[in-house]
Amino acid sequence: MATNSTDLLVTRLRELRRRATLVLFAQALCVSGAASMLIGEALVVGGAAQNVVAAVVVAATAALLTAAAATIVLRPSLRDIAASIDARLHLQDRLVTALQFNAAVDPFSQLVVRDAHSRVAAVRASDAVPFALPLSIRAVSAAAAIVSAVMIVATAEVPPWSRAGWTSLGGPDVPANAAVGAGPASSAAKQQLNQAESSSASANRTERSSARQQSGSDRTEATTPSVQARDLSEMVSPSSGGTGRLERGATARGDTTGTDTGTNTPDDAGVASGGASTSYEPRGGGVANGTRSALSTDTTAPFDDPAYRAAYLRGRVAAESAVAQDRVPTDLRSYVRDYFVAIRPAGDK
């Protein structure tokens, strides 16, 4: 009888310990999952991880491994389980005492074990070891979820229709992948971009009119200027008066150094009818992509004959049209723009 009670008590406690271990794993997973999620998002946003799916997989794996390791390290002993159940169910230290005396054979020890077993056997496992998260873990998980949601919203890719609608309402164009670099640096870059675009709008219109007169083949753009085309022309045109021209690739990575380190060179003051009296020629210092920087900062382009200029304008208009019709993938638009910046005729604004 006594031995039976002893065995049953230990067996029951082991069952409850398994449940407690699962609960502990779940709690650890909540904490490690939240931490991994935040770290993964930070890596993606910061540019350290390019592949989002891979980052998610790595974060999930890390969370699982961390939770498993924490569970193994913190796995409760039978005595810990007994003490926690005693405290939770107000068992007056029955289980702890019974566990200590379960090997004794004197009548009092046997009575203690029997009493403890009768109590713990009548209790449901969910009452003894509830599957609940402590308030601290819930708070940590909720905070991580909120931060994660904010980061996701802040870094979400803006759909083309949304950008078009926004731009048609008079707002500055938002590059499709410009917002990937969320954070202070990216925000500053976007602000600079908006300022540059808004202040150079009139100058760009003047330039586009001039280009149409010269080429005589850009009727499509003249009648229905596309948002993307305007965006492209703005990016192509180096004389975007204001605070400066923003390197597209740098913006996509949240890197604004390529824009800010350029030398401001007053050029063609008063030419831009829209009031853009200053042009900014970035010298490329600090640009992450050195090749593109060198191309875009070449202010002594050798291509200066009329035939080249005409060919350039035709190609540029074709590219603008392609971009406007969304035939160019979003991620490749910057390369198209950079290309036309690099091959622009000498003296072209």
């Binding site: 009888m1 006594a2 007056q92 200590q100 009092f108 203690v112 029997r114 009493d115």
Partner: protein, 333 residues
């Protein structure tokens, strides 16, 4: 198939609860109110400890002890302590007696300390010399007179009373003697309803009767049963931490202890706490003592074992409050 020994133990535990309830009921017939005081007194009695009852005159201290002795049909002796009380008046002495053959020889005349329940009334009015006569009896349960040791029959409990007021002409008990008391119990003034009940019982025609149902053998067996109650090592260590926390130089000591206490509780305090906790556990139908039991008995077991320093005496620091602070610090809720 149940082990017979388990049935025996369960029957003994049932008898214990029955005896305890009987005594509580019988005392309640005479002594009005203060159930916790009665319970603590009975716990002390069944643990075979000694208790010091402190209270103003006329609150029923003597009546309480007398009723206890009557309810268990044990030998009862009362010693009214006065400054001229001699140790031999307590322990007994050798007297010259005539033997049947005509010879005269010294024979030991037992004093009142040889009763089962001894009431030392107003013990702080006895001289230290007489107070010390109680020391050996209370601790060793024997008395040595003229080189001969005379053992005292079990059960044996000394219940001393003292008056916290009228301290002039008294001899406060030394710390060594205070430490020998299992509990120090405070007798509170009765409430209005209790006072009305006291008047009704004591001014009526017939005094309330007390029935004695069991004697010394039962008390001895109950005391032995209590000691078999289990206590987990964790609980024991908590008790020891409580004891340590009453010492001002211990790391567990509270700020108040460090400020007001000169010396903390002795190991006897831990013994008292554990035994009393076991008694409460058995009374609750359990066969093991818990932390809650410890919490319930710690104050009466420790409040007289804290020796206050100068600051404590000057600022009238209450040992009960100090012990409660220690319990709040050490024992988990």
């Amino acid at each position: 198939m149940r082990s017979p020994s388990l049935d025996v133990v369960e029957a003994q535990a049932g008898t214990f609860r029955e005896c305890f309830d009987h005594l509580r009921t019988e005392i309640g017939r005479v002594f009005v109110g203060q159930p916790s005081l009665v319970e603590q007194l009975l716990v002390c009695f069944f643990c075979q400890g000694h208790a010091l009852l402190e209270g103003a005159p006329g609150l029923g201290k003597t009546l309480l002890i007398r009723t206890l002795a009557d309810a268990v049909s044990l030998r009862f002796a009362r010693v009214q302590c006065t400054p001229d009380l001699m140790p031999a008046d307590v322990t007994g002495t050798n007297i010259l007696a005539e033997a049947p053959g005509g010879l005269r020889e010294f024979a030991f005349q037992h004093g009142p300390i040889f009763a089962n329940v001894v009431l030392a009334d107003e013990i702080n009015r006895a001289t230290p010399r007489t107070q010390s006569a109680f020391l050996e009896a209370m601790q060793e349960r024997s008395v040595t007179v003229f080189g001969l040791s005379h053992s005292i029959d079990e059960p044996f409990s000394v219940f001393a009373t003292q008056n916290p007021i009228e301290m002039e002409g008294t001899y406060p008990l030394p710390e060594a003697q205070l430490d020998r008391f299992f509990f120090k119990l405070a007798v509170q003034a009765p409430t209005l309803d209790e006072l009305a009940e006291i008047m009704a019982r004591t001014t009526g025609a017939t005094p309330p009767p007390v029935t004695a149902r069991f004697g010394a053998d039962v008390v001895r067996s109950m005391a032995a049963l209590i000691r078999q109650v289990k206590i987990a090592d964790d609980t024991t260590r908590l008790v020891l931490r409580v004891i340590r926390a009453t010492h001002p130089d211990a790391p567990e000591a509270t700020d108040a202890i460090k400020k007001y206490v000169r010396y903390g509780a002795s190991p006897r305090g831990a013994q008292a706490i554990i035994l009393a906790a076991k008694t409460l556990a058995l009374l609750a139908g359990r066969y093991h003592a818990s932390v809650d039991d410890v919490r319930r008995v710690a104050v009466p077991a420790l409040n007289h074992r804290l020796i206050l320093n100068f600051h404590g005496e000057m600022e009238h620091a209450a040992p009960v409050t100090l012990v409660e602070q220690v319990l709040d610090t050490v024992l988990p809720r």
